[in-house]
Amino acid sequence: MSDLDAYRSKAAAWLESVRPTFGKCARKGLSEADDLALGRRYQKAKFDAGYAGINWPTEYGGQGLTHLEKVTFEAEEMKHGFPNAYFGISLGMPVPILMQFGEDKDFVRERVLKALQGEEIWCQLFSEPAGGSDLAGLRTRAETDGNGWKLNGQKVWTSWAQYSDYGVIVARTDPNVPKHKGLTYFWVDMKAPGVTVRPIKLAGGDSHVNEVFFDDVKIGDDHRMSPVGGGFAVAMATLMIERYVATDSGGFGPHLDLFIDLAKATDFGGKPAIEDSRIRQQIARNYAMRSGLDAITARAMLMMQAGMTPGPEGSLNKLVSVRSRQKLSELAIDLQGSSGFAYDAHGFVKDNWTNSWINAPTGRIAGGADEMLLNTIAEKILGLPQDHRPDKGVPFNQIPA
């Protein structure tokens, strides 16, 4: 057994041991407040057991291991429906960036330890009404104010802002230069005067994303995490951290086995639906697609173990898996016919086809819409040209609105 296999089985055993306390059965029927409280205890349990900050430096309370162990743990963890979503963004991007770019090491260490133990949550204030895919088109302003800065503007789609203690934010400090060049990166106290968080109810009925308004929010220059005008590079660094996250060839929806079980159990014209060729074809196609993604992931893991850089094909995962999950979820609902109308807004997306279906569009948009991912593949991997961009090289304040 390789070291990594040993790590995996030890992690799996630990996760199994805490499943009754924190798993999806324990969460059933909880209010969001209680679920968040359970999540904080789960995060603390992970910290105590050595499964928090797996690939982070030990000086910050991490385990000092590699992203291989981290990805291995995450792949096991995602099977059980633990209440960890509240910390996904926080520990995924803002806090690692704080470790990388935060100047005041004592402050950074204190924040990191609290975040790792589930006591504090960070959010990432990037997207805006006028800039989602086009991040550099953002309009929130940071203007000098004494020795510090004053923030005004609006962010949107900010995950878990309603529970966040801190956030990282990209704001425009100079509208007179082309859009990428006038941005600066800060951290901000989400409890500061002038910060207003308003949850957005999404199609599925839950509200994990928010609008965040900044009205004359004052921050010191010690909140600045990039050179003035150098914020876009730090924003890109933030998004690059995402490269090493566990993937799921099921698109973070149900496993194909659950579809097979459904097809076996469903009577269609007096026969189990699993005997219907149309159903069989979809099973075969989905299996082939998922096994391809699994093989890509397995190869990437082997390459990382060998100290090599995985190929760019890993970028296919989200694109291919989530849109397939969307269609398969539709088919699973179809298959149930008049039994297919039931819906529980608090169902678990990994074992409930209706929850999987209604939340799939979010998956296809968040963290890079399909179209943006295709652009990235076409431009970065295949070397095809960028689209015509009329705003290129134009000072931000002269771009037609």
Partner: protein, 364 residues
């Protein structure tokens, strides 16, 4: 077996690519489409000279003792440049049947010739839409074969064929010499595949496997071939994806490169996805050759490779516009090959059923 290619395997890929790109050209392949019974002899001579025919066969019989992964790499390159003959796969399938199920005498008799390429093998299981018929019409009685095997790739040139026939109350996997067999050439859209109907009339044959194990054995041979073919399909799809990309980086319309239009660049990016999924499935299947999940992995590779090559053929021509449909441009060579390879070793409907049977526990 690892799914990461080692240095030796990478060298096989680069060397076979170099050789094939130097020796195979569109101009030599185009006339073969309008000829009957001809194949690209330079391709086959190259395969023999480079030892590709011997690659995956046992050393004791003149082989090089490498495996499906290495043969797959050659097939991938052959797919890129369009292989000029079907024997790399058909002879491999025939040889594997003899190696796995034959007697020592049969191995001694046939394997060295198949390894050197002096003997050409074919696998003749299909009857129309049934890649592996439940009740074959071909009969095996008193060591003689009767009936017609249809659409056999390489059938016009093969010296021996592995057949799946109906024996006395049980199926039989058998080997037959084709010297006295009536071969009817099929005028096809991809003539260098040498498709033929083989008419057996009391043709002497030797059983390799009889009874219920014969079907499993035949399926295993088909799966081995399917993995080789899947590599070839992936190579073809990859080449087309690159051709489409290169054209989109050259051709201008409305004042810009057409590769800048999202309708074009997304089409090509989607091809990239299909190629990489197929490649990953191929590598995975080749690495699982002697494991219980091999048939499942082979089916997945086959399905994704067929989808990749067919889609690449459609979309590459589409990206080219009018020039793409000309005889001279030669994209139709790939279009044709995508279809012929989609049928050889069983169509997608067949492999979908095989896959789902395995997945749902309907097949042991």
């Amino acid at each position: 077996m690892s799914i990461l290619y080692d240095e030796g395997q990478q060298a096989i890929a680069t060397e076979s690519r170099r050789v094939l790109e130097a020796r195979v050209s569109k101009d030599e392949l185009l006339p073969l489409l309008e000829a009957s019974g001809e194949y690209h002899t330079a391709f086959w001579e190259t395969a023999k000279e480079q030892g590709w025919t011997a690659l995956a066969l046992p050393e004791a019989y003149g082989g090089l003792d490498l495996g499906l992964a290495e043969l797959g790499l050659i097939a991938h390159q052959a797919g890129r440049t369009l292989s000029g003959a079907p024997f790399l796969t058909s002879s491999f399938g025939a040889a594997k049947a003899i190696e796995r199920y034959g007697s020592d005498a049969q191995k001694t008799r046939w394997l060295p010739g198949l390894a050197s390429g002096e003997i050409i093998g074919a696998v003749a299981f299909a009857e129309g839409a049934n890649a592996l018929p439940a009740a074959p019409k071909l009969t095996f009685t008193d060591d003689r074969i009767d009936g017609t095997a249809t659409g056999v790739a390489g059938g016009l040139a093969a010296d021996i064929a592995i057949v799946f026939a109906n024996g006395p109350g049980m199926p039989v996997l058998a080997i037959a010499e084709l010297a006295g067999v009536a071969r009817t050439a099929i005028a096809s859209f991809d003539n260098s595949r040498l498709f033929a109907d083989l008419g057996f009339t009391g043709t002497p044959a030797e059983a390799l496997v009889t009874g219920s194990a014969a079907r499993d054995a035949a399926l295993h041979i088909l799966a081995l071939q399917a993995v080789v073919t899947a590599h070839e399909q992936t190579g073809g799809a990859e080449a087309l994806m690159e051709v489409a990309r290169d054209y989109a980086l050259t051709r201008r319309a409305f004042g810009q490169l057409i590769g800048g239009f999202q309708s074009v660049k997304h089409r090509i990016a989607e091809l990239y996805g299909l190629v990489e999924l197929a490649r990953a499935n191929c590598i995975h299947a080749a690495a699982r050759a002697e494991t219980p999940e091999f048939i499942l992995a082979a089916a997945a590779a086959r399905l994704s490779a067929t989808e990749a090559y067919d889609t690449a053929a459609r979309d590459c021509v589409q990206v080219h516009g009018g020039i793409g449909v000309t005889w001279e441009a030669g994209l139709h060579l790939h279009m044709r090959r995508a279809r012929s390879l989609a049928l050889e070793q069983g169509n997608s409907l067949f492999w979908e059923d095989i896959l789902v049977d395995r997945l749902t526990g309907e097949a042991a």
